[in-house]
Symmetry: none
Subunit: 206 residues, 4 copies
């Protein structure tokens, strides 16, 4: 399946390198500055491109940054499957924390901040990050329903309970996570969602 319909019309083809450099420049700047502090000139200069090259492909400065964000977070973060639900959850949290404490953390905060006032950013965030992540986690949990996971588990609620604390700390706290944070959070939440009967019958503790 072809990635995109490439009519390959006449004329000089779009300089794909420049597009990439512009997005990269936007991303780099997002690691240092907020949406509003980033100027079109700064993006152009860092990309070694011209301001008009930006406005040819993006309707305004902000959409460049939105697309940069989109590309940046497009990486997968698959829900693990060790057979042990508790461990799966802990690992998933661990991996996500790794993301949120890395170089790209500022990008997340910029993204969420921008989403508060720009519906397009909000929509993009939903579509390319939140929903895929939640869908994967939901599917992973669903596999265990009636077994390690309670029969009547409210998945939406569980997702909030797992992801919420991480975002909360990132956005309103000191942005630091102690070593045992994933384990500690798992400990609290898992009891509330685990199927006590199943563990009892299978002679396993949690």
């Amino acid at each position: 399946m072809p990635e995109e319909e490439v009519p390959r019309g006449r004329g000089r083809p779009r300089c794909e390198d420049s597009r990439a450099r512009i997005l990269d420049a936007g991303l780099e700047l997002l690691e240092e500055l907020s949406f509003a502090e980033i100027t079109a000139d700064a993006i152009a200069e860092r990309a070694g491109a011209s301001r008009s090259a930006i406005y040819r492909w993006w309707s305004n400065k902000d959409t460049v940054l939105v697309e940069a964000l989109r590309e940046a977070v497009a990486q997968e973060l698959p829900f693990p499957d060790t057979g042990n639900l508790r461990e799966d959850i802990r690992l998933q949290l661990e991996n996500f924390i790794k993301l949120l404490t890395g170089r790209r953390a500022r990008i997340f905060t910029a993204f969420v901040a921008a989403a508060q006032s720009d519906p397009e950013v909000a929509e993009t965030f939903q579509r390319i990050w939140r929903e895929p992540r939640r869908a994967a986690l939901k599917a992973g949990l669903e596999r265990h329903r009636g077994k390690q996971l309670r029969d009547d588990a409210d998945l939406e609620m569980i997702l909030d309970a797992l992801y919420g604390p991480l975002y909360y700390r990132l956005l309103t706290g000191n942005k630091r996570f102690s070593d045992g944070y994933a384990e500690a959070l798992t400990r609290i939440v898992f009891e509330g969602i685990a199927n006590r009967d199943w563990f009892h019958h299978n002679g396993r503790s949690f």
Copy 2:
């Protein structure tokens, strides 16, 4: 105790009414627009004041909004004390949800968004909202430690587990909370923090 050292020199005294109108105007605008979209002119016009009146008393436009936010959220949100920890938690969540779904919700999101790029806003948010709220909740929980609350409960973690989901939904979700949201969240978290022994000895279920 004197509120502030008022030397009360000569000259026309500050028009306290104008100060209040400016802050109110800022607050109103925050319910509609983001930090960056609000202009000094807009605040002045809505307040029926002049731009100079703003810059005379605040160093720049953003500090007006920060102060407006500060006054707006200065209201107390005390942790309840019914004797029943689970109920206290549920009520606290309920009350907070009420706040987050009211007219003032947008102010919270604006505040958090601005905090991502403006350290002063971040510091203010910490000092006047986050820390007081967390301190109250911590004290409320501490009263129950060793009794309804597990002996080894990690309060910081519990706070994250309770507040996190709410902020998460407000900032990255659809901003809506179902009727039973507080109850559902309580159900999940409470099992992980409750002192099972105490409830066993006291013949109470949770």
Copy 3:
């Protein structure tokens, strides 16, 4: 009669000095460059002002130059009255040639050139320069009608015959005028307009 209605409203008064400096800067630049080559930045920089100061008072760059032109040519160039019509004409041509060969010559050419495409410039040129000059000359000629000037003289035509060659040379020729140019032109035109009878009766040659 007051020169201008000065309501002296509130607010900081317009910096008249800056206005003058901007117009002067425009004028200076007009001596070196064409309308199109002059940028708003160049005007602002030379005037020691900001671009916004320009756009606050003039709707666009060109209107600054138009006003500069207006002020520049506002000087009087009265028609002489020596009693001798031929000498009056020669002197008037001499004086105008002096203007057209001076530092300000380029301003005239710029003005006329701009008038070809900008109706506002054209209208301004008519109103503040062409018509006043022609009116003065007309009045001067009319005084002699029936005496030194033929009874049936067509003033509009005479004006064209006198001024036309000068503009023609300035705009399409080498812009240089020989020493005897005024005299030579007078010699040609005067015979065609002089009242031969009057000179005959008064025993004067021309």
Copy 4:
């Protein structure tokens, strides 16, 4: 005689049709707009050509217009020879006025306007229009020197006296010429240049 040295190398030959269409387009636009208002895109579009076709053969947009002007005014405007100098002059003025009031008038004004700031345009105007026209008129006048024309006639001056009023009116006036304009102008100028003695001896009045 070969029109131009055409080495006729390999490859596709220049599309002469496109060249003509581009020049025509330029000319058409000059009838509506000024030099500065005409864009390369507009020329290309109206010519049904591409911008590259323009820049392949002309160094820049303005040279296209200059060449268009050159071709447009290349038409002859020969000085008549009826044997009667006064009538020759009147006819020449009449013909020129016809040109200046026709569809192509705007081209003249555009040309002269552009010449004020672009030396290349000025030089072209001199070479292909002004000098040839003046040379023809000079030759026509010279034929009569010592006869109908005064012996000491200053031809340069006479040329200015005849053409000047027309350009003056076209460039700075209302661009309209009354029906008897040529006659009226001739009347004024002719007396100043006619050889009174010759007419006296030949028993002719003027």
